[in-house]
Symmetry: D2
Subunit: 335 residues, 4 copies
């Protein structure tokens, strides 16, 4: 850490979300946004200049070799996650890896093995686990308020305008269903027994625009994930994200799509994000910042991150990988 | 019909819902509630007296032989549907049969065959098709406002207090999922290609308290039905019924559970039914009445009921029957 | 009544809402839409032909002289209410008069005096009193479930597109606030003690587009009415109508704007009316029909309509008239 | 500031909310919770010990004399605000004063005068101005997306259980209406022209449990504030807080009461706070933290706080003071 006890952070991958990471990090007092890395020199310089960052790399290995960096965010294309995460862990950095951990369980397991022997901490950024609506729900579940979970449903739908920007890289189920797969396993503390899925592919991109997966969990619960990235232009939702958890003694309902503000103007009806990374008056608020601060705090206090374990992140990938296979083959997969 | 041109109606089966039928019928000016039938003489007399009905039968065959009756509602246990419906149709009555049509497709097909050759009209009471929220949605779909349907989800969940009164007769999927199976096929005008389901059975009754079914339709859409009759005592919902229909050009959302009135009192938070068969000031309002009037009107005008066809009612049973089998075997069923 | 015991009904005034009355009446089996009246011959013939009505009048006095008519709906401009209602009552017809009863309390009192001595029944069509969300709320209040009422708020806001079609005839407060004034007095069974109001007039029409009125009731409650006819084009609400009633032991909330169906399509986000006079598949459903049937039923059974009394309708006008004066003078009015 | 550049903070007043301040401050890395003050030695020691704070004072003047403190939160009874704020400002501390600034405008003006000549910064903690739902709304308004504001309504209602703990100190209007008075003036950038109010007092405490105030603003808008601290025990709302802003070209709606999580369990239906100061897993999240960090950041960067000015805080008190007077006298107050 820096002399002033700030965590020195580098961001590898400066796509849309890498920039959001960088922008958030730059605003957090206890963090020093110290380095950036992308293969595109122009973008690298532009963002570096804007945020006052001097350590700029087009090769992530050089960033990893920089001893003045404590932590890296890996926000690259999912296909690059495995190699960069492994290299970063081997370099001794603390690693915050964007979700999903990797495209396959096989890849995930390689990462986990390296992480288990690494000096630095490793966490996959399942951001929803830092959303207070989710964490308060998790606490209520852990306190037994809704009894034993018997049925869960999660919806996480996006406009096709957004979908089209991502669907050449990842399917809706793998890209967004991963959030809910993770939350459902976290809530239930159960494992997946069987998986079935169906996908729809109305768009022109490489991956399916929408998918549904039903899992049977080993505690007897049914868990259903819906991810459709094909809502119309007029959709008011920044994201239509809801979660229903029914237990033997109670039930709880999370609604992240209707997040407290609706604007009716010449552009129609819109419900902007107020919780994940809103930036009113030019300053970030919300859940992403919470995640980054959590990881920074672990590093500062030398405490292993417990909010999300590598094995949990791997289990979510396993479900979504199986769902993808089920959707392709039409058959039920058993674990 | 009576001299005053009123449709003379008999109700066969006086369980909870048979009584609701009778009570509604008694209030509709163009209908004459003329006969009642149940095997329980005490209940028969009690309801007959209360509603001023003289033609009281403990044997439904006698009611069917009564030439002063034009129409019968069959609101018996589902296992009795086939025989009574067939006898009623053969007797020349117009028949309004409660949903589901029958427990199996085989039974349904027998009914349909008789209905096709019957003098009277035959309709299964898929009540939701008379709900204006649903019918306006159907019109919007037919007008092409949301394009081609790609994904649907329906939830129809009830408290376990209600569930326990019914779960020895029918499962949640067959009992309530049938509504949504019917609506989804109506909306999409498609057929089921494959069916998969999972059920949960946390209660002590004969049938599973909850179920989820995914169908692939032959137009490429995914259709998902959720029916859980295990909400906690504190649930504010009279019924938590929602429907999402996503199309290539739009989306629509029906919410029947949050039906415009919420009362916070010493008993907690409650959202009473305001649409299906509410009875403010002792008079019925709503969708059931609409269904009864629709059928009465068909009879008066001698117009075949087109809102719901026997084949459609049979297709909904086929889906739920397959879902039940899938839930039991764990395998995917193909049509 | 006709030989077939149907109530023979005439509609006086064929503006937009008069036509809605006529269309609804034409669909109700126990009612015979028998006569129509408007000063515009072309419109008279057009609607008469469309609905198969032969008795067509351009002078309402001739309709009133027609002995084959039992009931009249008066759906004219508010300024004509007093004279037509009085003439209709004197002619011996049963009279269903659109709300507000008349522009001033003085006018109302003249009508009430004639009504008190009339052979026919008289009721002002405060349609919300037939809305099950409202009537179930009223029952809950009467049962003491929320204790003694201490605070009420009603919102009834419309798009400016709709507002502009009406604001040369009536203000938002008088036109829509009248509904809530009526409901609040009905709920609380109290009288207005003091009234204060503010209006806004951003539009170009004759009357103010929006108004707020606070009343102190003689049971100690505060009752606040909001009516703004200036929502943007993009508003999803057919009407944004909500009602909050807080009592010493409970509270209840009515939401008529979010009425169970939301459509996202190329036109934006819309929540169509599903309760007042929706017309799916070409047939009316809902609260207006309920009101018409209620009045028809009173006539058929020769029972004085008790749901709404003339004195109550007058009291609502008194409040809105006082609110209008308060908004103009800026002072508080005391009753 | 400390050597490690952390802002050293003291909290004066350790009632319920003072403790929330202290707890939040203790968790923020860039802040050092350095001192605490309350007249109750036992509570002082208990909280000091729990949070590891050594500088403990029973006399706030001693805390103000402590040169190792940069900032103070004043979270005392409102009646003590004026004297402590003035002393704190004179001592050279930066002062974050809880809302409302003081009970009267006269008091506020004295504070403002001292603040204008003070070395330290001064801000009243109108916490809602740090709520992203509010700040994004403010930005939309400033961008002209809803045109010129014509009508506003704010509701901020609490259960009587909470009300009873506060109503001997402050009325609902002054205690909670102050938030909305502030927001409405901020949104509209207008001044109050006239004020009218009604209060209800069903409870046994010193101050009225509920109040409504209508203000006419000098830009022509009507602004209505509702604060009722008398919701039933069963209310699901942690706080029922909503805000409607209608403009000539658009409208926006804030809903802080339905904040994304609903739990149905043996205790009934509850919607916990997820935004203001939720503490999932023992760590604070949300808007209060945002406010504290904002002020800390101003201090660290030596930038005058612009989010809320003393004059604005004074104007909100002026409105609520006038509302209180109007409610007592029954007359309209003009500014």
């Amino acid at each position: 850490m820096s002399q002033s006890n700030r965590v020195r952070w580098g961001v590898i991958g400066l796509g849309w979300f890498g920039e959001v990471h960088a922008d958030n990090l730059a605003e957090i007092p206890e963090i020093e946004l110290a380095a950036l890395c992308t293969r595109r020199p122009e973008r690298l310089n532009e963002i570096g200049e804007r945020l006052g960052v001097n350590r700029l790399y087009t090769d992530y290995r050089e960033l990893l070799a920089d001893t003045e960096i404590d932590v890296v965010s890996i926000t690259t294309h999912i296909n690059d996650h495995r190699d960069i995460a492994i290299d970063a862990l081997r370099s001794g950095k603390h690693v915050l890896l964007e979700k999903p951990m990797a495209p396959t369980v096989a890849d995930c397991e390689q990462i986990v093995e390296v992480a288990n022997n690494a000096k630095g901490f490793f966490m996959v950024g399942h951001i929803c686990r830092f959303d207070p609506r989710v964490t308060i729900a998790k606490q209520a579940i852990d306190e037994g308020r809704i009894g034993k979970i018997i049925s869960m449903h999660a919806r996480r739908n996006l406009s096709k305008a957004i979908g089209q920007t991502v669907l050449d890289d990842i399917s809706a189920l793998m890209g967004d269903g991963i959030h809910d797969a993770d939350l459902m396993l976290w809530f239930s503390q159960a494992n997946v027994s069987t998986v079935y899925a169906q996908e729809v592919h109305p768009g022109q991109n490489k991956f399916p625009d929408g998918g549904w997966s039903i899992a049977r969990l080993d505690n007897g619960a049914v868990a259903v994930v819906e991810s459709v990235w094909h809502l119309p232009e007029s959709t008011p939702y920044a994201i239509d994200a809801r979660l229903e958890v029914i237990g033997t003694e109670g039930a709880l309902y999370i609604n992240c799509g209707e997040a407290g503000l609706t604007i009716h103007d010449a552009q129609g009806v819109k419900m902007p994000d107020t919780m994940y990374w809103p930036r009113p008056f030019g300053n970030y608020f919300g859940v992403l910042k919470e995640e980054l601060c959590y990881f920074a705090n672990c590093v500062r206090n030398n405490e292993v991150p417990k909010r999300i374990t590598p094995a949990e992140s791997c289990a979510a990938v396993a479900w979504m990988e199986a769902a993808t296979e089920s959707a392709q083959t039409g058959s039920v997969l058993r674990f």
